[in-house]
């Protein structure tokens, strides 16, 4: 593996065929998790995958479509078109630099524009193989039972494993009595004043370790299969 922290000479010598890139988010995560939770998780996953699979790791994008968290402190967001343009420019840069297998791991569930952008790029660029993976889908859903989607058992567990010094006291969670499509109509804090959707008290570091390891394995397996990479 080479990364943006290796010398350019080393990167050229290794002639990476594949690039790994994480898209994070900086947004409220309830009273107990850092606002950089999604950023930290996706950066950790892409790093570990790159370490095991090889390839070229580029820096994570810290921000994305977090306007779904309203005006809560510590929330930064990009508009959909902005995020789309960042992705296009980053991918184009990698292709121009000679890498045309690209794995984008999306760490924030609200980045719905990504599937359209990636699909379009894949269709337009004939020598590009691009794979979009959702961090949430890489996680083994059978391990958590809290119907959570934000700052619940899954994310709390991962942070306890990856970043425990920055996890604060947990409170009981909430699952709003509406479907997830309501996030198209209201912000999450409007639906859940605590800013949580799930139950953080069900989380543990041990669960986080297992989720992380299985997510990395699943990511590697998908990359090898979908991009025909070994």
């Amino acid at each position: 593996m080479v990364s943006y922290l290796c010398s350019s000479g080393e990167i050229e010598e290794s002639q990476p065929e594949i690039a790994m890139w994480g898209i994070g988010a900086v947004e409220q995560h309830g009273p107990h998790l850092p606002v950089g939770t999604d950023l930290i998780q996706v950066a950790s996953i892409t790093y570990q995958v790159a370490l095991e699979l090889g390839g070229f790791l580029i820096p994570p994008l810290p921000f994305s479509m977090s306007e779904c968290h309203g005006k809560e402190a510590g929330t930064q967001w990009l508009r959909p078109d902005t995020l789309g343009n960042v992705v296009k420019d980053v991918v184009s840069s990698l292709v121009r630099g000679g890498i045309n297998k690209i794995v984008v791991v999306n760490g924030h569930g609200g980045n719905f524009v990504l599937s359209s952008v990636v699909r379009e790029m894949g269709l337009k660029e004939s020598n590009l193989d691009i794979l979009l993976l959702e961090a949430a889908e890489l996680m083994p859903s059978e391990l958590v039972q809290d119907s959570g989607i934000h700052a619940g058992a899954a994310e709390t567990s991962l942070q306890l494993y990856l970043n425990k010094n920055n996890v604060k006291d947990r409170i009981g969670g909430t699952v709003p009595p509406v479907g997830r499509e309501f996030l198209d109509y209201l912000t999450l804090p409007q639906l859940s004043p605590k800013g949580i959707w799930g139950d953080p008290e069900q989380g543990s570091a041990e669960l986080g370790r297992e989720m992380f390891e299985r997510a990395v394995k699943k990511c590697i397996s998908k990359v090898k299969r979908e991009l025909n990479y070994s």
Partner: protein, 243 residues
């Protein structure tokens, strides 16, 4: 000083009125330096700046990509087209505005000793983006600064021209010799994208360089302080003018 490693409650309670935001780049830096050189330098400088800008300033995560047209197409270079970078700046700063942060200082890369303080070197669009934000939001203040340009005079007094030529490498070497970006025992409280949660502990970079680490230590301290002084004084002046 709150960062992305704090919770929303902690950030809210800190009540930041000002944000510091570094805009770096990922670009081919020749044979021996990493494409992330500017990110590392910027975050090292930011770590110094924040010592002098007040406890309640909020550190926005560093933007790792900028415009790098001249190196576009080389391995390791990520180029954002200027409209894209302008949009990113606009969106992120407007999200800070939404949270009632009314001042933001954008630290644009690192600039150069003797460089202009009026136009941006690298990420040129930052100047335009800042200007537009100030027009669009009259009760808000955005400024930009390039650290080496700001600290140029003092760096020239302190270091010989030979030392000035290798100042970037010296600072880099110094930063990598500290625990600033260490995953296990970060010297900072986190909040930088360079190392802590990545577990990247690659000290191979520059390990064979004979560059003097102490030059780097002294340089980054000077640059940080001068940049912070510029930020504090400029914002104070602007408050005075607007009142």
């Amino acid at each position: 000083m709150p960062t992305f490693q704090n919770t929303t409650i902690e950030i809210r309670d800190a009540g930041p009125k000002m944000a510091l935001w570094g805009i770096g780049s990922t670009e081919n830096h020749g044979e021996t330096l990493p494409p992330g050189t500017d990110i590392l330098l910027l975050e090292g400088i930011l770590n110094e700046v924040r010592r002098h800008t007040g406890e309640s300033s909020y550190i926005v995560p560093t933007m790792p990509f900028g415009t790098s047209y001249e190196r576009f197409g080389t391995i390791g270079t990520i180029n954002l087209q200027y409209p894209t970078l302008k949009q990113v700046i606009r969106d992120v700063v407007e999200s800070l505005y939404d949270q009632k942060i009314r001042e933001v200082a954008i630290i644009n890369g690192h600039g150069s000793i003797g460089g202009s303080k009026v136009t941006c070197e690298g990420n040129e669009i930052v100047k335009t983006a800042v200007r537009q934000l100030n027009y669009d939001h009259p009760n808000f203040q955005a400024i930009w600064v390039q650290p080496f340009s700001e600290a140029g005079e003092e760096l020239c007094k302190e270091f010989s021209s030979q030392q000035q030529d290798i100042i970037e490498i010296a600072i880099l070497k110094h930063l990598l010799s500290t625990d600033l970006f260490s995953r296990k025992e970060p010297e900072s409280d986190g909040g930088f994208i360079s190392f802590p949660f990545l577990g990247l502990d690659d000290r191979r970079i520059l390990s064979e360089s004979s560059v003097d680490i102490d030059v780097g230590r002294r340089a980054v301290s000077i640059v940080g302080k001068k940049t912070a002084n510029y930020i504090n004084e400029t914002l104070a002046k602007l408050r005075e003018i607007k009142n």
